[in-house]
């Protein structure tokens, strides 16, 4: 309840009501934020709150010519770690003797939330500057990304005044209610060498699950996407609890990501839809030909519905066409 009151206060701040920045100024501001995550070495602890759940993670990150190197370690719950190095990312779960690793499809994570070319976001979001706050002992400026349509959630970032690194990021719905929140509890900007010394090399996991394999075309094609969305990934990958591989497509506008899973229909023909507690995650399944399509993402329902509605069997000559 207090979180809602907080957001209400946040969104009623003068900055929220202020005029959007001109496109050029907004693009420059967002690009500065996007670049900051890859320009500095840092380590710290941040808290992720999603619904009733909260998780604390320790992060170390340093820039690298071939892509940022970072390590995320969950400090509570199951032993879980993410290592990103040179554009590749691996999740390691389980403790010594029972560790298993799986390759991630992308290697980005908080506070690196904005796409590498963040300027394009100004087409789909109004950008406003709000007030000054203090997070992890450092002053930060609130930047509000308000969606221009119904196909994406809003974002409220609190950006370090000096480094432009996001110290807090809140995903909000159209009513201004927080859906998910990242907040640094502590953060140290480090000289590069110091960060490297604190990041031990990845040990060999006991078990390495099958890595996703990139695909160019699949069993189906998507003929309609929400404005600004493009396909950013298409892989064939195994899923836990499943014996077979499925196609996993991902669509994004740079901030919002929607997954689509394509698998042979093995159940009766039923179309279902669902949503998470606060509606942050929406899901829809439907049949297309001999395939079951499952579309889900941290996106408003219209986004998921539009993508699902645009799915059809691949053109003649493509796999999946009878």
């Amino acid at each position: 309840m207090r979180w809602g009151a907080l957001l209400l206060g946040l969104l009623s701040a003068p900055g929220w009501a202020s005029d959007p920045l001109p496109a050029a100024e907004a693009a420059k501001l967002l690009q500065g934020i996007a670049d900051a995550s890859n320009r500095f070495a840092y380590e710290g602890v941040f808290v992720l709150q999603h619904g009733d759940r909260m998780q604390t993670l320790r992060i170390s990150s340093q820039p690298h010519p071939a892509g940022r190197e970072s390590r995320l370690v969950g400090m509570d719950g199951e032993v879980r770690e993410v290592r990103c190095t040179r554009g590749e990312s691996v999740t390691i779960q389980g403790g010594d003797g029972n560790a298993r690793a799986s390759k991630r499809v992308i290697s980005r994570h908080f506070p690196d939330l904005l796409p590498s070319d963040a300027r394009v976001l100004t087409e789909w979001y109004w950008v406003r500057q709000a007030g000054v706050d203090r997070v992890a002992g450092q002053d930060c400026r609130e930047i509000v990304l308000q969606p221009k349509d119904e196909y994406r959630w809003g974002h409220v970032l609190c950006v370090d005044q000096e480094t432009r690194l996001p110290l807090r990021a809140v995903l909000v719905d159209p009513k201004g209610q927080a859906l998910m929140r990242y907040t640094f509890a502590e953060l140290d900007i480090l000289p590069g060498e110091a960060a490297k010394a604190r990041m031990p090399p990845v040990g060999k996991p006991v078990r390495f699950t099958d890595a996703p394999k990139a695909i160019q075309a699949g069993a189906v094609e998507v003929r309609q996407l929400p404005p600004g969305f493009t396909r950013v990934a298409a892989v064939k990958r195994p899923l836990s609890h499943r014996g077979t591989e499925v196609e996993h497509w991902v669509f994004s506008d740079g901030l919002t990501h929607v997954s689509m899973f394509v698998e042979p229909l093995s159940r009766p023909d039923v179309t279902l839809k669902g949503a998470s507690h606060k509606g942050m995650v929406n899901l829809l399944t439907r049949r297309v030909g001999a395939y079951q399509i499952t579309v889900l993402g941290d996106a408003p329902r219209p986004t998921v519905e539009l993508i699902a509605r645009g799915v059809d069997l691949a053109s003649p000559g493509q796999p999946g066409r009878p």
Binding site: D52, G74, G77, E78, S89, M180, H248, S252
Partner: protein
Amino acid sequence: MKQAHMNATTPLESADELHSALWDGELDDFEARKLLGGMDTAQRELWAEYAMIGDALRGVGTSRSGFMQRFETALASEPTILAPVAARKPVVAPYLWTAAAAAMVAITWTVWTAAPTDVSGQPQWMAQQPATSQPVAANEYQPGAGDLESYMEAHQDFAYAVVSVPDLTVERVSLTEVRP
């Protein structure tokens, strides 16, 4: 020292009470940030203990899969409830609520409804057509927790989070089916 620090923050509450309030989401943003930012080693250990206890109660961690299996079994044995699609008010078998409450599971059941596919392949709810309740076959597909978990787990690569699978669990309110 820990007590002194916490007393300086809020005189009326002990450190344990503050941590408990933080865990329950009862602190506002200012209080939460202040508390998290001021944690020393001992307090972080205490926080980790809370997390471990919470995970154990929620059935996550090493025993999580067992819970999910029981959950799937419970869901599979749930009788199909026939109701209009518009009826979104949660209707959950009491024993599931009891189980959830007993385990202090932060699971919110959300709505699963069927939006039947017409002959053109378009989901009918998009055309705003009223759904018709029909008996549902006993072997009708119902999403199991394992299905949701595997989808969400894969989607985590793009969710910027390193959390375990989010609590995307469902409340099956109605399941309708229209055949041409």
